[in-house]
Symmetry: C2
Subunit: 242 residues, 2 copies
């Protein structure tokens, strides 16, 4: 599962640090992009775009992280994706966003005028190839997450989430290493399709069972990696097929 944390070896030569766009750092393309771009920042918690808003720009996250989510009329909300540096908001061919985009941390965006960006996509082949690859990656991650949302128990959901957080920090994973939860209990709940109380209870249980140890609310250590893996409900080998 690489829902959250794709390999993101942004190109250092490129001012917008965009693998999709600057995979080969062609100077002409960069020049075009240079002329198009503008920056904008958002504070933690701020809504970047509401579902249905017109997309005048295609943006890419330069720094920080944001969530894609949908809220039903009565307030139930489900996070359907996370945006990290190099991810796009908006995509060629779409005039409006389908989900609310909210800043999880302070966020800096690099924006391009949509029409110009679309022209670039249709003119420069390797850009659509990169967008294709990104979309396919996110598609499998989303499907993987559908299994979690549809069929996993609360404990399995939490264990899977913890494993995902840990995998971001260090691969290969080993025990007795220090990690930090990137979200509040409520955000975790909206991500996993649970309530914040259930998240809290399940984390307490993992602590009681000697799987995790907490130092404060967000900082933790894995005491029993095998037990954690076991609790995810995934295949024993934890195989991530890519």
């Amino acid at each position: 599962m690489n829902f959250v944390f794709n390999e993101r070896d942004g190109c250092s030569k490129c001012p917008i640090r965009h693998r999709a766009v600057c995979a080969r750092c062609d100077e002409d393309e960069l020049a075009i992009l240079e002329g198009m771009k503008s920056y904008r920042t958002f504070e933690q918690g701020e809504t970047i775009i509401w579902r249905g808003d017109d997309l005048h720009h295609i943006s890419s996250v330069v720094a920080g992280s944001a969530s894609l989510s949908r809220t039903l009329e009565d307030g139930r909300t489900q996070v359907v994706g996370l945006l990290l540096p190099s991810d796009f908001i908006g995509s060629p061919g779409r005039k409006a966003v389908e989900f609310d985009v909210t800043a999880i941390t302070d966020v800096t965006l690099c924006r391009f005028e949509r029409k110009a960006f679309e022209r670039l996509v249709s003119d420069v082949p390797h850009i659509s190839q990169r967008v294709m690859e990104m979309a396919l990656d996110e598609l499998s991650a989303a499907r993987e997450w559908m299994v979690l949302l549809g069929r996993k128990t609360a404990r399995e959901k939490i264990a899977t989430f913890i494993e995902m957080v840990v995998r971001r920090d260090t691969a290969p994973i080993h025990q007795d290493q220090h990690h930090t939860l990137p979200f509040t209990r409520e955000e975790i709940a909206n991500f996993l399709g649970l309530t914040l109380e259930t998240v809290s209870r399940q984390l307490s249980l993992l602590k009681k069972d000697g799987v995790l140890a907490f130092v404060g609310r967000r900082e933790f250590t894995i005491l029993d990696l095998a037990a954690l893996r076991d609790a995810t409900g995934d295949d024993a080998d934890g195989s991530v097929i890519v």
Copy 2:
């Protein structure tokens, strides 16, 4: 929501009826594809590929429908996508499938040797553009489905499913029109993250409430479209943002 039923106006000139591949029906490209392709059929219920199997071929569905699903060790299964004519099994850059692919009806596939297909994708720009568009469409559909799996009640899930089935048949939807459920109760359950008993009960309730009328197990009519829409839990206007 167009998870199941994308617009699929396959090009009639192209023998493989593939919008992604033959969007402009370039004769040379078609000739290349002609030479590559082979056909294979599967019977209803047959497994087309198991998760983890090597993908020697990229296939496209020519006729019939198939499901993408994952089954946990104890037998819980979640359907994460449906494949209809023009959809692909396998994608450029992936050596193995991440989900089980099962024939829902009898299925005919048109297969291409993977390496050759990948070459075509990187050589012919408009192919990666089409694959990109398809992947982006499926990505939003998958995310939409994540909201359903994570946050909707059984009744809302069923109502959303019925509305989706109906939207495939006729747009605009109107009442007193005849429709057919494409799956068994168990398949619906695995699609919605429910048990088959709950699916059956909720369908009975919709019948009792005068929303639907059944003729046999699979054939039904909508008696109260407004009530159905209302039961989906989606925004009143039922807006599908694309």
